[in-house]
Amino acid sequence: MTDDTSLRAPLVIEYPFTRTTGPVVGAFLTALREGFVVGTRASDGRVLVPPAEFDPVTNTPLTEVVEVGSEGVITSWTWVTEPVPAPQRPAGEEPPWDPSVDAQPFDRPFAWVLVRLDGADTSLLTVADVEDPAQLHTGLRVRIRWRAEREGSIRDIEAVEPVVSGEDLP
């Protein structure tokens, strides 16, 4: 039950953090800004995308940065029927950050997808922008749609879209 006489006040938990990305994640984000994707080559020869900074087997720093393709195949996906909107701010308060960061990528239904880009041995989590889940299936060939204004963020990848003229790989 709500007691109308009780005191109320907004409590917005927010805190400005920055990140020191280091040589590997820094290279990944810089590449996104330039409109391509890189991974790192692990000690067992696999190309890890997104890149790992340390080898999961030998624990040594991974230093070989490898460019991979902007096309690949969906290895798994899930459909989001009702996207979560950006949180509403208390009246009169200005958000200190880009509100779009708090929202899901689209305000229309979309899919979260894992995509194994050409040349990579692991899958990257991103977004598929299609109208109907019937357009998606595991193995579907997709291509990155880059944001026009890129800033070195994972959101520089606006979405992936089906490759219309290409063939679907199993």
Binding site: F17, T20, D55, P61
Partner: protein, 389 residues
């Protein structure tokens, strides 16, 4: 302590700085851990388990960072243990690692602690604006300043004591290449004339905000013997103790908390120490604000109540004095919060290994490492020795 003797056979730390812009968090902890392994002449595969500590996760805004740091710390497929005890965490993390060896659960444990203060503002993270409560916006200095004033009133200490501690620790830091602050031109006057932040704490009597990590390799007795046999003296863990008390307990003495006094008594008892001031050759004490040196000297039973400031005034706590304190430069010269306690423990180990370089206390046989955290409510201490317990 359990049946198994515990030896510190490897110590590593990063170069500490205001901004370590060249490395990620993973790169920072790896740097310290690799140095500890190199010092121990061991490889990642030799390690049985990893124990990691840091101050609260919201300082960096990475929740449970230990999960993503497994690759960087060689913990994949091995037990990994996270410790949370605020500012004392570096000390209690080392004690958890020590206990795992002492209990015979693991033979070789890598323990690591870190903080990356440059990606946030821990100072203000400690002053969260809760609704309907008076906003303190005080940070740690504002919280501790009244305790210091209370100490000064009780002890009758003169104003210059805090200045002397700051001057001493910053001069000690010049002998420690890893220290964050190197201020060769510091003088009594420059400390005295620095801006008053929270009376009686001046700017130059305050710890810096640092990025940094510390790591140690702890082994069982066989590991310690092997290190000694190959000419790399280990530090033997002679006693450990952890004590806590509630921040707001009624009747609590915040100048000399009971938990700190009991923790010190426990660690001396376990180490077989009956006269700590006479037996301890070097002490690394968690002093983030200069006045905490005399306060903790008293709380630790290293002098009589009311005499802590006299030890400072007489130069007893300088390198070369009878009871050298914070020869590494201490928290006043380097403060990656989560790592600061482990740095105290590791520097104590370096002293009894004779490996402290230009800040070595000649012939140190027994050293105390001390950490505190929260509102002077969490305490962790260990005593390490050149000789086996």
């Amino acid at each position: 302590m359990g049946a198994e003797r515990v030896a510190v056979v490897g110590v590593g730390q990063t170069k500490h700085d205001a901004v370590r812009g060249d490395v990620s968090i993973a790169g920072l902890v790896h740097e310290a851990a690799q140095r500890a392994l190199d010092d121990a002449e061991l490889d990642w595969a030799d390690i049985d388990a990893v124990v990691i500590g840091k101050a609260p996760d919201f300082f960096e805004g990475v929740m449970m960072p230990e999960l993503y740091l497994a690759d960087a710390l060689g913990a994949v497929g091995k037990p990994m243990f996270r410790v949370h005890t605020a500012g004392s965490v570096g000390g209690s993390t080392a004690i958890v690692a020590s206990d795992l060896v002492a209990a015979g659960i693991h033979r070789r444990v890598l323990t690591v602690a870190f903080e990356v203060q440059s990606v946030s503002e821990a100072m203000w993270a400690l002053s969260f604006p809760y609704p309907f409560q008076p906003p303190m916006h005080a940070g740690a200095g504002g919280y501790f300043a009244p305790h210091i004033r209370s100490y000064i009133r009780r002890s009758g200490a003169p104003d210059h004591i805090g200045i002397l501690v700051a001057l001493k620790d910053r001069r000690h830091a010049l002998g420690n290449p890893y220290a964050h602050l190197h201020e060769p031109d510091i003088t009594f006057e420059s400390v005295r004339d620095s801006i008053m932040l929270w009376e009686p704490i001046r700017y130059s009597e305050t710890c810096p905000s640092s990025d940094g990590a510390c790591a140690m390799v702890l082994t069982d007795e066989a590991g310690g013997d092997a290190a000694a046999a190959s000419g790399r003296a280990p530090a033997w863990v002679r006693g450990t103790a952890v004590r806590s008390e509630p921040t707001l307990a009624a009747g609590r003495d915040q100048v000399s908390p009971l938990a700190g006094r009991e923790c010190a008594a426990a660690v001396y008892r376990e180490a077989g120490i009956t006269d700590p001031a006479a037996e301890i050759d070097a002490a690394e004490i968690y002093v983030p604000f200069s006045w905490f040196e005399p306060m903790w000297l008293e709380n630790l039973g290293l002098c009589d109540v009311g005499d802590g400031w006299r030890l400072v005034d007489e130069g007893v706590t300088q390198l070369g004095g009878d009871l050298p304190v914070n020869c590494s430069g201490g928290v006043l010269s380097t403060n990656p919060i989560g790592a600061s306690g482990m740095l105290r423990f590791a520097e104590a180990a370096l002293q009894v290994r004779g490996a402290a370089g230009d800040h070595q206390v000649d012939g140190a046989q027994l050293a105390l490492g001390h950490a505190y955290g929260g509102g002077s409510q969490f305490f962790a201490m260990w005593v390490v020795g050149a000789a086996k317990p």
